[in-house]
């Protein structure tokens, strides 16, 4: 019964989303004001309905997990009775089907919030916003309903003989049974999925032709919110890797990690670039392109993770979901750049649209030849699409080709009738670019660097697929490639972080630059010898980045911090002089009255801290390994570690752990007992899967990181020896702290102002109540 309820709710959600798509387009194109209002209200209700139905669906699934409903295949495959209840909940998104449902649910939340109380300034484009949101919802709901349905009932294929419903579940991958699993995917999805909202608004602006800055201003908080969560989600993934994977790293340039970073990079560019459009009416075209590619890259990212085309430790089991993503991705790019073409960017957007359409045709005809099915016989998962799904794809291709031909020819006719001049140039900038030494130029170069970084990461990630497609041989790059490419670009961006907020608009004179930057530059310069004295020099050094480069990065971090401190100081001093309040109160009020600016400074400080932490953690590491019996000690960098005992901890029905109790002392004084362990989980763990879980002591200068590598004699714990691996990683804590400061700074930026909290005005037209 639960499965039926679940299946019904996602199917009906799909229907509502499809309806909203139609209603939204109809409302957008309606000439009559009343008709527009009526259909918009209907579309709005459609998205609210989708939200309610998706909430029901995920509620049903969570309930099924918590009440051990193993009749549902997915619940069986991702959990078992012995698991603690909080992991039963997070197991909902442990596999492909459930994680897609989570995506759909988060998307439906955003859809509902987007249309709940839209800003009056963008009210006229809301029907199109709803329509574009609906297209995305339709796609993901199609996937959830027909290719990865979490409410499927019955034994999984290959195990038909199984007793059904089974008495207990199979259990969850041990690496997912920790609290990071509860935080990281939801945070990441709130970020990833949230990038759809700016795209909806941008597309609506393009489709309606209303290309002034209203959509930019309306979309600011959405973008900030999604971008913040994506950033935090990425960092949470890093902490998870650090605390669970026992290799002491927090980032491995794994394809799935990169997939989340790439849209974050272009999203950062977008976030900054829109400030220039707001203040100077420039970079309008750039902002459109950035919002489209950020959305496209977020879809591509989730496709990379799920389709199995890239080899990764993170990837879900291979599935046949790839072709659907390609279709959707290519169609959305065609939609975005197609409208950009229509609104005046004839050459560049036209070329991109044509190129993407070409890819789409190749993809379609490729599928016609091979059919849409999972890649190889020994890869698992996912039901087959219906017979002849390829022909549906072909039909869609013809429809799109026809629409494009119609649109292009009518556009060309329009130009011809207009004496060869384009009909639109709403994307033309209102101001001109005057000098390289200006804030406009800094932001433009900022865009270039972020987009370049994003594509460098994308290139490195996709290299095996590219070389295989072109030459049949797979060539890949790993960490070293990224360690060569990213630091220089990162340094340039870090430098801009310090320079950008202070450099004047239009044209900066040398005198002006000197006045603005002499103090921070001096402080940064003075920090160089200080850093050298503190140990940032060759003899202590082992990392992959040259020491001179690390020094420059750290000095630049000091530079950025100095500019920020100076800005806060100057602002607080001015306020203090003006209002007489204390420096402390002046500081608080300054921030609260200029939330965007000073919140932004806090975020920039977090960025500087992040760079410092990452650079520091790559500078050196100390590693000691030893076989220890109870009572033996190990010395590392002034710490003395004594193995107290080895014990077993059991949680019946869930897991069994071998725990080494290690007393940590520094300079003779005992600090604490660290307990590195090896976990073996029931169900999944019947294959004797032991997962080493490190024990970590966090301090500002370094982390003491213990891994229990081997227990020589698990049957005789009183006298067994263990192989203990101990690391000292410098400055890793700074990275996590920077994440917290990042969150706080963005929170300050997002706080609403007094003006915005005023209630909207309501007017009545022909019996219909509308909000102005």
């Amino acid at each position: 019964m639960a499965a039926d309820l679940g299946r019904f709710s996602i199917l009906f959600a799909l229907l509502c989303a499809a309806y909203t798509l139609v209603a939204g387009i109809y409302a957008g194109r309606a000439k009559d004001r009343l008709r527009q209002e009526q259909w918009w209200q209907s579309a709005r209700r459609g998205l609210l309905a989708v939200f309610l139905l998706c909430a029901l669906a995920i509620g049903v699934l969570i309930h099924a997990f918590v009440t051990h409903n193993y009749n549902i295949t997915y619940v069986w495959s991702e959990s078992n009775r012995g698991m603690p209840v909080q992991y039963k909940v997070s197991a909902v998104w442990g596999g492909q089907d459930g994680s897609l449902l989570l995506w759909v649910f988060v998307l439906s939340c955003y859809g509902a919030l987007m249309v709940w109380r839209p800003q009056p300034t963008v009210r006229s484009i809301m029907p199109y916003t709803a329509a574009v949101m609906a297209i995305t919802q339709v796609f993901f709901l199609l996937l959830v309903n027909f290719t990865a349905n979490p409410f499927r009932v019955g034994p999984p294929h290959g195990l038909e003989g199984m007793k059904w419903p089974p008495p207990d579940g199979r259990g969850l991958n041990p690496l997912l049974q920790n609290y990071w699993m509860q935080l990281h995917p939801p945070a990441l999805y709130i970020g990833y999925v949230g990038l759809t909202v700016p795209f909806c608004y941008g597309m609506a602006a393009l489709m309606s032709g209303k290309l002034d800055s209203d959509w930019i201003i309306a979309v600011r908080r959405w973008t900030l919110f999604a971008w913040t969560f994506l950033g935090c989600g990425i960092l949470l993934g890093g902490i998870w890797a650090y605390e669970t994977l026992s290799f002491g790293g927090y980032w491995a340039w794994d394809p799935v990690e990169n997939a989340s970073l790439i849209p974050w990079l272009t999203g950062t560019a977008f976030l900054h670039s829109v400030m220039i459009q707001e203040k100077k009416g420039m970079l309008k075209g750039w902002n459109m392109v950035l919002v489209i590619i950020t959305f496209a890259l977020s879809i591509f990212g989730t496709f990379l993770t799920r389709s199995g085309i890239i080899q990764s430790v993170h990837a879900f089991a291979q599935s046949g979901i790839g072709p659907y993503f390609w279709t959707f991705l290519l169609l959305m790019i065609i939609l975005g750049f197609g409208f950009l073409f229509l609104r005046g960017w004839y050459v560049s957007a036209g070329l991109v649209t044509l190129f993407t359409f070409g890819l789409f045709i190749i993809h379609t005809f490729g599928r016609l030849k091979t059919g849409i099915h999972p890649p190889a016989p020994d890869t698992p998962n996912a039901p087959l699409p219906p017979e002849g799904a390829e022909y549906l794809l072909l039909a869609v291709s013809f429809a799109v080709a026809g629409a494009m031909a119609y649109v292009v020819s009518s556009e060309l006719i329009g130009i011809f009738k207009n004496d060869g001049k384009p009909r639109y140039n709403a994307l033309q900038g209102d101001n001109e670019f005057e000098s390289w030494l200006s804030r406009e130029a800094a932001f433009l170069v900022n865009n270039w660097l972020f987009v370049g970084a994003a594509f460098a990461v994308l290139f490195g990630t996709m290299l095996p697929n590219l070389t295989e497609a072109l030459w049949g041989a797979k060539i890949t790059v790993a960490g070293p490639y990224f360690n060569v490419v990213m630091p220089p670009i990162g340094l340039a961006l870090l430098f801009l972080t310090g320079v950008g907020p202070l450099i004047p608009w239009r044209r900066a004179s040398p005198k002006n630059l000197w006045r603005n930057f002499r103090l921070p530059a001096a402080v940064a310069g003075a920090s160089l010898p200080l850093l050298w004295l503190m140990g940032v020099r060759q003899d202590a050094y082992i990392g992959p980045i040259p020491i001179s480069f690390s020094l420059i990065v750290l000095a630049t971090c000091v530079f950025v911090t100095a500019t920020i401190v100076w800005e806060f100081y100057r602002g607080a001093k001015a306020r203090h002089a003006l209002t007489g309040e204390s420096y402390f109160a002046a500081l608080i009020n300054l921030t609260l009255r200029n939330r965007r600016r000073y919140g932004g400074y806090i975020v920039h400080f977090a960025v500087a801290l992040f760079f410092a932490g990452v650079t520091g953690s790559m500078m050196y590491k100390v590693e000691v390994r030893k076989d220890l019996h109870p009572g033996d000690t190990l010395r590392i960098a002034g710490y003395e570690l004594k193995l107290n005992k080895v014990a077993i901890e059991r949680v019946p029905g869930w897991k069994e752990s071998l725990v080494a109790h290690v007393d940590v002392a520094l300079k003779g004084r005992k600090l604490l007992t660290l307990k590195p362990r090896q976990d073996t989980f029931e169900g999944f763990g019947r294959d004797m899967q032991q997962t080493p879980i490190p024990a970590i002591l966090y301090t500002p200068q370094h982390d003491l990181y213990l891994v229990l590598r081997q227990v020589a004699n698990p049957n005789n714990l009183k006298s067994t020896s263990i192989h203990l691996q101990v690391y000292l990683f410098p400055m890793v804590l700074w990275v996590w702290v920077s994440g917290v400061i990042f969150l706080i700074g963005n929170f300050v930026c997002m706080l609403p102002g007094a003006k915005e909290l005023r209630a909207p005005e309501r007017v009545t037209v022909k019996g219909w109540v509308m909000e102005r």
Partner: protein, 143 residues
Amino acid sequence: MKPKQQRKLIVGGTIVFGAMTLLVAFAVVGNSMPILKVSDVVAKGSQLYGRPLMVDGKVVAGSIKRYSKPLMVKFSVRDLKNPAVTLPVVYRDAPPDTFKDDATVHLQGVIDQQGVLQADKMLTQCPSKYEKDYERLDKDKKK
């Protein structure tokens, strides 16, 4: 936009994007390695000596020999498609705990003069039991 302005931007853009492209090219050339099948490695033989590469294979059942002083593990991997083709491997560290007979491994290392893969990095995937359960569910749909 005035032509002079446009020219400035094009020159600037070319410099910045050009620099990034050169950086990427330099990084790829210096740090790329092929992902090979075990059969490729065995077939190419001496051509590959001394060059870093990545190999995917399955651990041959019964071939694992673990040593503690010095800490290392010796084993053979076989080609994923062709079980007859094998390659000897040495990995000088404690292997991941999912490492056992028939595990799928992803290795990164260098082939030495004796044709043995000296592996620097090893990743194991969860045992195939997890994957085999879910295959085509077309039968399921026809119910």
